[in-house]
Structures are given as C-alpha cells and as structure tokens.
Symmetry: C2
Subunit: 396 residues, 2 copies
C-alpha cells in the first residue's frame, strides 16, 4: 500500500464517525465506547491501544494507553488524550445514560472497568451497527483491496515454480509465506469471532485436507499438533494428491482470501469434476453479487446446484462438520458481513466484499474448490483476486 492510499483512508475517518453517530441516534443510544482494536482503527485511523468515545451528538475523544505520540501522529482526530480519562470523563459522558459497547468483542473485565467508572449508566450492545457500517467498503478501501488481491494472486501464481511431490505441506506453506512477506503481507487475518485463529492459510492435501476441525470453514486441515489443529501438516504430498491452497494476505489492514487446487500428475476424475462444479457455482453466483440480492437466496442457489450435480453430501464439508455458508464478508476482519448462508435474509449492499468459496470435501480423499474475493457492484461481483480458477497441473 502506498502513501497516497493510506492518506485516502485517513481522510475518511470523520465521515465514518458521522455515519456511526447517525446510527446511534437512530437506535436511541447516547454514545459508544469502542474498545476493540480493529473497530478503533476503522473509526480513528490508528491501531494504538485505548478507548474511542463517540457521542451521538458531539466530538469524539480517543483515550490512548500506548502509544499516545504515535496515535497523535496517525489519527486525524483532534481529541487524542492519555488513558485512563480523568475528570473530563464525567463531563464528557454524564449526559449520556445509554453508552453502547460491542458485546461480541468486548471482554467482561473491560466492561467491568467502565461500569465502575461510569456508575448508573446502561451499556447496550451496538456490535450489529458497527459490523453493518464496516461491511460497506468505500472506493478508497476497495482500491487497497485491489492492490492486496494482485499481490496475493502473484504469490499463488508462483506455486508451480516450487511445488513438487515429496515436499511436506508445511514446506509448501513456508515458500508461499516467504513470498507473501516479501510482497508486504502484514500478518495473520484478524478474526472477530472468539477462539477463531488462522496463521495465514492452508496447504492441505489428500486425506489430511478432509479432516474436520474447529476452524469455521469448509476445509480445516490436520495442522501441526493438537494445539494448532488447522492448516498445513507434515504430510508428504504425493503424485496424484489433490492439494488445496487457500491463503489470506493483509495489506494496509485489509484481508484478501483465495484458493486454488494443484496436483502433481493427474487428479482423480470425480474430484476433478467436483472442482469444475465449484467453479460453475462461483460463475453462477458472481454476476449476482449486486445490491438487492438476498444473501440466503444466493446460498440456496449454490447448495441447490451442488445437490443437482449429485454432490450435495460433499458440499462445504462432509457430515456433521459441514459448514452452512458459501461466502463470508471480508475486510479488516475475515468474518465480516454479509454471510451467504441460511438465515441471512438481508439484501446485499453496494461496496460489500465477500470471499466466495464453493468447495467439496471427500472424507479420506481430499478437498477441492475455488475461492476469490469479490466486491458487490451494480454490474455484478468485481473480482479482486485476478488469477485463472482452474486446476493447476504440475508435471511429476
């Protein structure tokens, strides 16, 4: 991400705050305390540690624990002060009996601290409002994501230059991660849900790709130990093994997510056909990523197609461990809104971004599928991860 892109993002902070204030007023909340680092980054322009106070009517104040000097240099907000707030707190918040916090990410101990310092106040949940506002990306955010998508695609495109039979999954992962870091990958994708973790991505092959696990996706992988049961393992990749490479990368704080299937030699015909169906499902859904389409309807459309092709039993995982979604919102967190899944009856909004990932899991055999990151536009999904979708065959 270059300096001009960063400056564009920084300039949006006041407008983001105004939209949030309007949302607070609409829901009868007098102000909000944002304590989650990523929400704070979105609404203040700095990822330093502290608390961002946004009154429904009035000026925001950013209280910073560490580092005040860096927060002052980075944030366009004028009111950056040291944490904890002193006497000023009572005057700032006294006329605000109802102070919103995000129940989904705030720890009990954090809320207890604020309850003690603001006795008599109510603390309603405002996480739905924050998540909804963050789901719509601005042109500046989309530009950063386009940049990230090109960089991630380039790293995935390089895989045939080093993937060979006899390498362990973890060796392939190490090579991908090396190239991503050199390209400026900032680290792990942030996840909003409690207890969700992903280091960077999956290189999973053969039966190890089909092992179920805690990670909230269709494919999990064996991982390296019971303590880290997701992603690449020490399994040696053999000729003919389906290898699913599903990677994230972070640029300017924005995550991209994509997956491709590789094989050294020839892929089993049934898995090859399943991959073609996955791509067909993607190609059917992508043009429908337009404002007004209902998320749950698009999921049904994908699931119906899988069923019609005789692959329903493998769609998005197998058995009790199958996932019930086909796309997830993505931005500064990997699990944003919208979700293309049953029950999500809201219409898509312009500027939302989703990782669409139709996949099939065959227990004991492997996993195949495709994933790309798409922006919702009036002309249909805009692909942010430019790379051909099909099977990549490597000569043995």
């Amino acid at each position: 991400m270059n300096t001009a892109m960063a400056e564009e993002l920084r300039r949006e902070v006041p407008a983001r705050i105004e939209r949030f204030k309007a949302s607070l007023r609409a829901s009868g909340v007098d102000g909000a305390l944002l304590l989650h680092g990523i929400d704070l980054l979105y609404f203040s322009g700095t990822r330093q540690n502290g608390a961002l106070w946004i009154p429904a009517g009035g000026e925001p104040a950013l209280f910073v624990r560490k580092s005040v000097s860096r927060a002052r240099a980075e944030s366009p907000l004028p009111g950056v002060r040291p944490f904890p707030p002193g006497r000023e707190l009572s005057s700032l918040m006294a006329r605000c009996p109802r102070i919103g916090v995000c129940y989904d990410v705030t720890r009990i101990s954090q809320l207890e601290w604020w309850r003690k310092h603001l006795p008599g106040h109510e603390f309603p949940d405002v996480s739905a409002s924050v998540r909804e506002l963050r789901s719509r990306k601005s042109p500046a955010e989309l530009e950063v994501m386009r940049h990230g998508g090109r960089a991630l695609s380039a790293a995935i495109a390089a895989i045939p230059s080093f993937l060979r039979a006899g390498m362990r999954e973890i060796d392939v992962a190490a090579e991908i991660e090396l190239r991503l870091r050199r390209a400026g990958n900032e680290g792990s994708p942030r996840l909003r849900a409690a207890n969700m973790e992903l280091f960077t991505g999956l290189v999973v092959s053969g039966e190890a790709a089909a092992e179920p696990g805690a990670f909230d996706g269709p494919v999990v992988g064996r991982g390296l130990s019971v303590a880290s049961p997701v992603g690449p393992s020490e399994r040696v990749i053999g000729v003919g093994d389906p290898v699913l490479v599903d990677y994230t990368a972070v640029f300017g704080g924005y995550i991209l997510d994509m997956a491709r299937v590789f094989v050294v030699g020839t892929l089993d015909a049934e898995l090859g056909r399943a991959l073609e169906v996955a791509i067909a499902i993607q190609d059917d859904i992508a043009p429908r990523l337009v404002p007004g389409e209902v998320a749950a309807d698009l999921y049904d459309r994908a699931a119906d197609r899988a069923e019609a092709e005789g692959l329903g039993a493998y769609f998005m995982g197998a058995g009790d461990d199958a996932s019930r979604f086909v796309a997830h919102g993505i931005g500064m967190e990997l699990d944003e809104l919208p979700v293309l899944a049953p029950g999500f009856t809201d219409a898509l909004l312009e500027g939302q971004v989703v990782a669409l990932e139709p996949k099939f899991v065959f227990p004991g055999r492997g996993a195949v599928g495709v994933e790309n990151t798409w922006a919702v536009t009036r002309a249909g999904g805009e692909r942010l991860t430019p790379l051909p979708d099909g099977l990549v065959r490597i000569h043995p």
Copy 2:
C-alpha cells in the same frame, strides 16, 4: 514435537483438572465454565471449539461445537458431547449456584448466552486461578519447551548466513519465518490480553527500532502500515545499523521467545556498551530465578543496575512509552504469569517460565538488548534458548 511428548501432555489432563477443582473449592466456587480456546486446550487436551464444564466436585463435561469427532479423538476426557448442551445442562449445573468464568478473556456476548440458559446463577471471575495454575509447567511441558527452544535458537543462529546491508527489515523477517516454518513453527504466539497482536517477531533496525507503539513490550518497531504498527518495516538496513531480532516460535502449543542484536560492520560504542549491560543484567537475574524470590524485587534489581550504569533513561523503552517490566511469563500464551515488574509481590514458583528481556531504547538511534526463555528451578534459571548472547557482527 514428537508423539511421545504429545502423549505425555495428554496424560496430564486429569491431574490439571483435579488441581483446578481444588482451587475452585478453596475459593467457594461450585464449578467453572471455560470458554477460552487456550484454557480449554490446557484442561481438556483438545483445541476444538466449545465449552468445558468443570464442577468443583464431580466429572467434567466438554461440549463441542466443532469438531466433535476430532475432540473425541484428541481429549482423554470421557464426557465429550455436542454443543449446545441440552436438558442434561440443568441436572449438571442445577446444584451449582456459583459458576466461575474468566472475565479477562470471555466476551460479554458469551456470558449473556450462559446467563440466559442458566438463570439465577452467579458468575464470579476465576481468571486469576486459571492463570496461576497454568503458570507452573510440568516436566512434560518443560520438555516440549526445550525442544522449541532448540528449534528457535537454530533459526536465529542461521541469520548471519543471509543478513546483508541493503536488505529491508521485512526481507530478513521473511527468511527467519521461512526457516521457522520448515522447523515446524505452528504460528503466531497466542496473547491473552485484549487487542495484543504479534505475527511472529521483530526485525527492527536503526531509528525504526526505537519508534513507540501499542505492543506491550520495550521494543515495537515501525511495522508495515498504520493497521499493522508492530515489527518489521520496509526500512533498508544499512552498514552500522543496530538490528534487533526478537522472535517467538510455537511448538506443541508452547511459545519460546528470544532476542539477539546483529550489525553489519561496527556497532556504535554507546549502544555496544548498553548491550553488554543488558547481558550483565540478565546474567545477574538468571541465577535468581529460583522458587521464593519475589518478582518485583528482581525487577528493582534490574532497574537499579540500569540506573547505576547511567542507562536508566533508556531502560525498557524511552520516555512515556517505556515498559515497566523486565520479564514476562510464557507458555501457551505470551503474557502469562509471573511478571517481573513493580507490584508483583508474589514469590516465584518452581516450574514457572519467563522470557527475561533487558533492553535499551535510544530514540532516533536504535534498540539493543538480549532475551532468553528461562525455567524457574531450585538451581536457578534453566535456559531454554541455547545460543550465545553477545553481539553478532557480520562482515560488510
């Protein structure tokens, strides 16, 4: 980590639960609901997602959301059931009016869910008890950490083979991370504190190493963007620049942490002397890592020595952003107990493990120091990261 080590850890699960039950009884709590993935791993032997119910008297039950089959295969506990718990819940918990949860890691939304399903119960905080129990490592845990310490040390020892002037900090980081992954590094160090993040480690040089930031350590680094303001940046390393390499690695779920200073050419004399003082402070504290020593006293001893050497203004950071600790507990999380810091008046316990990291930060010039991971033993600190401590000079 090999299979025998993993089996040793698994065998400890019942004894860990018994110690926790005794601690619950001692504090008048009837049972505990553990919802944090890492606590669940420690007390159940699996890192699948769910809730672990441990009654002060009676059998534990592990309710798993995903994946039940994997949790059953991994955990030695007999009571693995699907989440959410059904009717059985009332019978399990009805006679337990006071149910402990960890306030420090549990989200408000998680507690709300349990409050709704267990009306009329009280939910006191048991995080102190969990943290204290986890701080003492068993011989099996220490064996896993010795293995990890050797692997991390080998990766740091390889740095002179590739570090050259003209490389960017991120290029050096990419090479270290490549070698760590090949050696089996499982991912990012888990952090218990809210909003703390570290991808893997720091490669920070010259003035970029001295920039303050949110990360709760003496050295933070510039990072790659305002969204990721910690660790390596795109700064090009020049001849004579102090390069602080501070890395973590995770093996079998256990984190190791170490730091060394490198220079291409010759290091500035004042910074070179500060590094020698840091090593002298380490060598003074390490033999005192014995049961009974008071954590805060050891911090004072280190800070006094820095002051006496005329380096007090640079010790553990500069100005308002200086840290007030010299060692942190480490294990399955990077911020465990004990902390060698003011206010920590508890005595050290046998089997605790700390990362001891005396460092000096010179604004505009750079950061130097040393870090190793040590186990508290009756014979003094046992070094788990075997590698010489001194400055590593690379021919320009």
